[in-house]
């Protein structure tokens, strides 16, 4: 009996291990789903008066937004629901390329806000958008160092010094292509100890003190205040990332999608985004 049980246990474990071995990507799904987990802001606060447009803005919309927009967009979704009682904004945050892929595969998004124009272009090419995308924000790179700056980094050139452990994004992802553009324009070649798949992974290595410095966006440093120190560098202007937003063609609530985009591109949205460290589009 006991060995029998043991054998069953082994079979079960084998099945589990095999599943994760076969996918090879058991974990990333977990990572992106935690980043991409839908969060609803709930429709409460009926303090605000009805929106000035007067049209019947109600019902739910789903906004797919780049992970870097988490803080400002959560804020704006609350604002939107307060202004338009009866509406409910569901937010889904993940990497822009993940979100673009999901929309192409038929995910029910009403609005898509990308961290780069490249991923928005995928939807333009697939004719999945309603109207042209509008740029609403920009972001530049900044050097993130662990508190105390152990390697005394003060400029972009310092990152190329021998012995300095620097982590960047891989050139395949937006933050990595921005880093490559800065390297090219300054003629500085970095020898990173790791090329990560996302800004989060770069930040993780810096926060844990594993790396002496990493290249991330200004807004990432802002959002992780205290855990990392940001060092702006003038060469960052050579690679400005532009954030476009657009309504998705098969949205069931086009009026609501348009109203949300208007909020983001309008005065309120721009104020919230600039508070989070974003630049003007």
């Amino acid at each position: 009996m006991i060995p029998h049980l043991k054998r069953n246990l082994v079979a079960l474990l084998v099945a589990g291990g095999l599943a994760s071995a076969l996918t090879g990507c058991g974990a990333p799904a977990g990572i992106s789903s935690s980043a991409g987990s839908s969060s609803s802001t709930g429709s409460s606060s009926s303090t605000g008066t009805s929106s000035s447009t007067g049209s019947q803005l109600d019902g739910p919309i789903t906004v797919f937004a780049a992970a870097s927009l988490k803080a400002p967009f959560t804020h704006l979704a609350h604002e939107f629901e307060a202004k338009n009682p009866g509406t409910k904004v569901t937010l889904s945050f993940a990497g822009s390329s993940d979100l673009a892929t999901q929309i192409i595969q038929g995910a029910p998004a009403d609005v898509f806000a990308s961290a780069d124009t490249k991923n928005m272009s995928k939807l333009v090419d697939a004719k999945l958008l309603d109207g042209a995308p509008r740029n609403f924000a920009s972001n530049v790179l900044e050097i993130a160092v662990p508190p105390g700056n152990p390697a005394s980094i003060s400029s972009f050139a310092d990152l190329a010094k021998p012995g300095v452990k620097v982590v960047v994004c891989a050139p395949q992802v937006p933050c990595g292509s921005a880093a490559a553009a800065v390297e090219k324009s300054t003629g500085t070649t970095l020898k990173p100890v790791s090329e990560e798949s996302s800004v989060t992974d770069v930040l993780g290595k810096v926060i844990s003190g594993e790396a002496d410095g990493g290249l991330v966006y200004v807004t990432d440093v802002e959002a992780n205040g205290g855990k990392v120190q940001g060092i702006p560098f003038p060469e960052a202007s050579k690679a400005v990332n532009t954030y476009p937003i657009a309504a998705v063609g098969n949205s069931k609530n086009k009026a609501l999608a348009a109203a949300f985009i208007a909020l983001v591109t309008g005065e309120t949205g721009q104020k919230v985004l600039s508070d989070a460290g974003f630049g003007a589009p």
Partner: protein
């Protein structure tokens, strides 16, 4: 063992087959869907690109090293868990098996705080001039961490079902414990050890989360095939699918080998 008995009774209710086929489809269908997505015209150039070959080579090398490390550390662990008698044995078993149920990314974080620069052992290692983070050693450590329980569970099961009789006989004939272990115990459980090692290898090959968190991702140093797939997915879905298929093929070959061997050994024993 009592395989013959189970063959004589076939009274599985019909609905069990129905549910079982849904379960089977849940695993097989996504794999088939992936195969259907493969861009065959581009398959060979995609899987033989330099970055793909580098990643596959690194994966095979690190998985081999991890498997060897699993055997070196896992055999004594399994012996202690199966044959030893001491307080805290059950607790030790539970802790050793923990990586089986832990999300690999958690394992990576734990390793980071152990072997990382600011980690528990990392600080002393750094003083000794040894740097583990961002090195191939970190990949091997991450893989060993997640794969070790597979070897321990397989071998411990084999040790328990093998029983003590032959060992007791050898001991009464004057063989010393190390001789008994080498000449009697290990040969008896060799099939269990082999399948445990193969499973550890397969698990090492598929390791992703702990590696990404702990070792980083740099071509030729720490970017194993699963990390390469994850990165390729950002820009080139065709390449990611093609490389996934390679990983599935390698994993299936490895597991098929293990299962086939186990079956034939069991058949011979009966």
């Amino acid at each position: 063992m009592n395989k013959h008995n189970s063959h004589s009774y076939h009274g599985i209710p019909g609905w069990i087959y129905a549910v079982a086929s849904i379960g089977g489809l849940l695993v097989i269908l996504p794999l088939a869907a992936m195969v259907a997505k493969v861009n065959w015209a581009q398959f060979i150039p995609l899987v033989t690109s330099e970055s793909a070959r580098t990643a596959l080579g690194l994966s095979l090398r690190t998985a081999t090293a991890s498997t060897l490390l699993c055997i070196v550390l896992g055999v004594p662990l399994a012996l202690v868990l199966a044959r030893g008698a001491f307080r805290g044995q059950r607790l030790l078993r539970a802790l050793v098996l923990l990586p089986l149920v832990l999300p690999p990314v958690v394992g990576g974080i734990a390793l980071l705080y152990t072997f990382g620069r600011q980690g528990l052992l990392g600080k002393s290692l750094e003083l000794a001039g040894i740097q583990i983070a961002f090195s191939t050693t970190a990949v091997v450590l991450a893989q060993t961490f997640v794969a070790l329980p597979f070897l321990v569970v397989s071998l411990e099961g084999a040790l328990r079902s093998a029983g003590h009789r032959y060992e007791a006989v050898a001991a009464t004939l004057g063989a010393r414990p190390t001789t008994v272990l080498r000449r009697v115990t290990l040969p008896l459980v060799l099939p269990g050890l082999a399948s445990g090692a193969v499973l550890s290898f397969a698990r090492s090959l598929g390791e992703f989360g702990a590696t990404l968190t702990f070792a980083g991702s740099l071509e030729g140093v720490t970017r194993t095939l699963p990390l390469e797939i994850y990165l390729q997915r950002e820009t080139d879905a065709d390449a990611a699918v093609a490389l996934s298929l390679v990983l599935v093929a390698v994993a299936m070959a490895v597991v098929g080998l293990s299962y086939g061997r186990r079956r034939s050994r069991q058949g011979a024993a009966l």
